[in-house]
């Protein structure tokens, strides 16, 4: 870290805590890497986001505001990188589909396409209240991590980063119908996972 940067961050004393900064960096890196699928590119984006946020560190009262700010910057950087990607026409590994990505939920439905016994979706009991419970978020994140990689990535791009379907298709070189299939599978799996690990436990 250079001297001028150190001076400006000195204002926010909490940002002097190396353990906190390393933890934050790890969170940012994990998030960026999942979206970008590229360690170095993710590291560059994280570094830029941290620099961008630290430059203005004085205006932040504490860790929480700083983290919000740095994540917001990182999301913008990731969105920019993803949007630019198609212009450089990368030949990406299209053959990255594992068997589990391709599953058709034949275990959920019978041959007529009706729900098999025991697989029917449940009515979620008071889901709004769950959003306020820390344990719910541990379960949700576990469910996200359990998704096949491609499904998780596409779901996050769509629902978390907020890219449009069109943008995702262009960036990921997916057809619209492939995108819909991936989102469908991700939504189905997440619902099943949340039901099993959370809503039916309650």
């Amino acid at each position: 870290m250079d001297a001028t940067l150190e001076e400006s961050t000195a204002e926010a004393s909490k940002l002097q805590d190396p353990a906190y900064l390393n933890e934050l960096r790890a969170q940012l890196q994990k998030f960026a890497e999942m979206q970008l699928n590229d360690h170095q590119l993710a590291e560059d984006a994280v570094q830029e986001a941290l620099i961008g946020a630290m430059k203005n560190a004085k205006s932040f009262s504490g860790k929480s505001a700083f983290k919000t700010w740095v994540f917001a910057i990182l999301k913008n950087k990731i969105a920019d990188i993803l949007r630019k990607r198609h212009r450089t026409v990368e030949i990406t590994n299209l053959a990255g589909n594992s068997a589990s990505e391709d599953e058709d939920f034949s275990n959920l439905f019978d041959e007529k396409g009706l729900w098999n016994q025991g697989t029917e979706p449940a009515a979620w009991n008071n889901p709004e209240a769950s959003l306020k419970e820390d344990e719910f978020w541990v379960v949700f994140e576990t469910c996200l991590e359990n998704l096949p990689e491609k499904q998780a990535k596409i779901f996050m791009m769509r629902e978390h980063i907020g890219l449009s379907s069109e943008e995702i298709c262009v960036n990921e070189e997916l057809s619209v119908s492939n995108l819909h299939v991936l989102l469908y599978r991700a939504r189905m799996r997440l619902q099943k996972c949340l039901e099993m690990r959370w809503f039916e436990e309650k």
Partner: protein, 62 residues
Amino acid sequence: MPSCKEATRLISLAQEKKLDFWESVQLKIHVLLCKYCSNFHKNTQFLSKISQAHKQRDSDET
């Protein structure tokens, strides 16, 4: 009338684009008649809400 499997596919698709008129009519009838797909429909919409809350939380938490 779509099967439950087809109905769930359409429910997810409806998050991405407007379904065509008759697809939408058939899906709505199915959802009215089928408790399980009605649950899936509500849960899909709530999942979107969870993701929004997650995004918010992701940047808020210390």
